[in-house]
Amino acid sequence: MNGNVAIDVRGLHKSFGETEVLRSVDLTVYSGEVVVIMGPSGSGKTTLIRCMNLLDEPDAGSVTVHGRTLSYPARGSGRSRRRLIRDIRVRTAMVFQHLNLFPHMTVLQNVIEGPISVRRLPRPYAVEMGERLLAHVGLGDKRDEYPARLSGGQRQRVAIARALAMEPEVILLDEPTSALDPELGAEVLQTMRSLAACGMTMVVITHEIPFAREVADRVAFMDAGYILEEQRPSVFFGAPATARARSFLHLMTEDDDPRPGLEQTG
């Protein structure tokens, strides 16, 4: 990890109508770091990473990506602001919980769509990169398949390859294993481990405690629109500072989940 800030969010507030979903969230992610976000359902995790990509725009606060800052409430001209938003979106790749692969495109087309139509890379270059990324996530032989024909784990890895093809500053993953059975989840976790080992900056919403222990540099625990604590995993899983985190982890590890590592917590 070097000292460069990849993403910095300050004082983020976001409401949907009457519901306050984020209430003053600060989070700094350094280049090369893996930050895991945990927290109960509805605590604002998805909204936070959507704000990091500016897919949802916060009501107040600021988002800085690679030294470019956008502040809210909005000020400044529409055009330069739109360019800045686009720039931040290009640099922060999202892997959605529901993937949202493009069903009318093949695997390779999914991966090279952004590089060609947004980043304007020459097609042959994009294709070569796409093939390399697909090989990297273990899908080299699936380039001409349509997403509908892949397994859940394969689709998840296509989504990761599509995100990587943007050559982003950071990749934001929303519960990448939650829809998969443990075996397919393991393939995806392995892919994420290898990305982390390559120095990819990642923000991952996940409840996979063994993965977080092994790969995360920090765990941010969210509840009701706040980050309640931000700790090294050994500290967070060993001795969480807040009662909310303790009871959350307690509930998590009480699951009848037979995977190893869970019972070491608390």
Partner: protein, 215 residues
């Protein structure tokens, strides 16, 4: 020629005119419908309202009334349009209203997550529409658009009332001069059916092609 089937003078020309009316109005109507769909989806409110008003009027009134207004009504206002262009204009406006609704339905059927995925990689609204949403919307809308094309083919028979010599008019002329109405209109009906059978087959092929990715 089979003596039971009266030689129908002008049959081929009639078929050609029917095809001209149907195909031209469909193609122009699809372009118009596409533009109206874009107008309905855009953020500009006056444009949206205009699009809604257009659809409401041209979908809510009989095509025969529209045709009469264009051919007999407009000259009263000093605009005189020959029969065939009058028919094409009317059918384009009429079909465009329906087709825009078909297309809009297709766009609305595309999951919100598709917009999200496109937007999150920095695509503009227009680029997302073109590259991601419209191709999927078109697939959803294909059956409805195909039905509209077939209906339009049949609706072109209305042009006979404004003196366009298309298939129905040819049959009518031939029937009244020979008093063999049954034969004349049976032939006309068979030709419409044949045209529409070809269109149906085309629609099915297109549906299969667009559906390949989902099989």
């Amino acid at each position: 020629m089979n003596p039971l089937v009266p030689p129908m003078p002008g049959l081929l020309t009639g078929v050609a005119v029917t095809l001209l009316l149907g195909v031209t109005s469909f193609v122009l109507g699809l372009v118009l419908g596409g533009l109206v769909t874009l107008a309905r989806l855009c953020r500009n409110r006056p444009l949206r309202v205009a699009a809604i008003a257009y659809v409401s009027v041209f979908r809510g009134t009989p095509p025969l009334v529209q045709l009469m207004l264009v051919y007999f009504g407009l000259p009263q206002l000093g605009v005189r349009i020959p029969p065939i262009p009058s028919a094409i204009l009317t059918f384009t406006l009429y079909a465009g209203a329906y087709l825009s609704e078909n297309l809009r339905g297709g766009v609305l059927a595309v999951e919100r997550g598709q917009w999200d995925a496109a937007g999150s990689m920095g695509m503009s609204h227009g680029l997302a529409l073109r590259r991601v949403v419209l191709p999927q919307a078109l697939r959803v809308a294909t059956p409805a658009i195909g039905s509209r094309f077939i209906s339009l083919m049949k609706d072109t028979s209305l042009a006979s009332v404004i003196t366009v010599v298309e298939l129905t008019r040819v049959a009518e002329t031939s029937g009244s001069s020979s008093f063999r109405y049954v034969e004349a209109f049976t032939v006309a009906g068979a030709v419409y059916w044949l045209i529409n059978t070809v269109l149906s087959a085309g629609q099915e092929t297109l549906e299969r092609r667009l559906g390949r990715a989902y099989a």
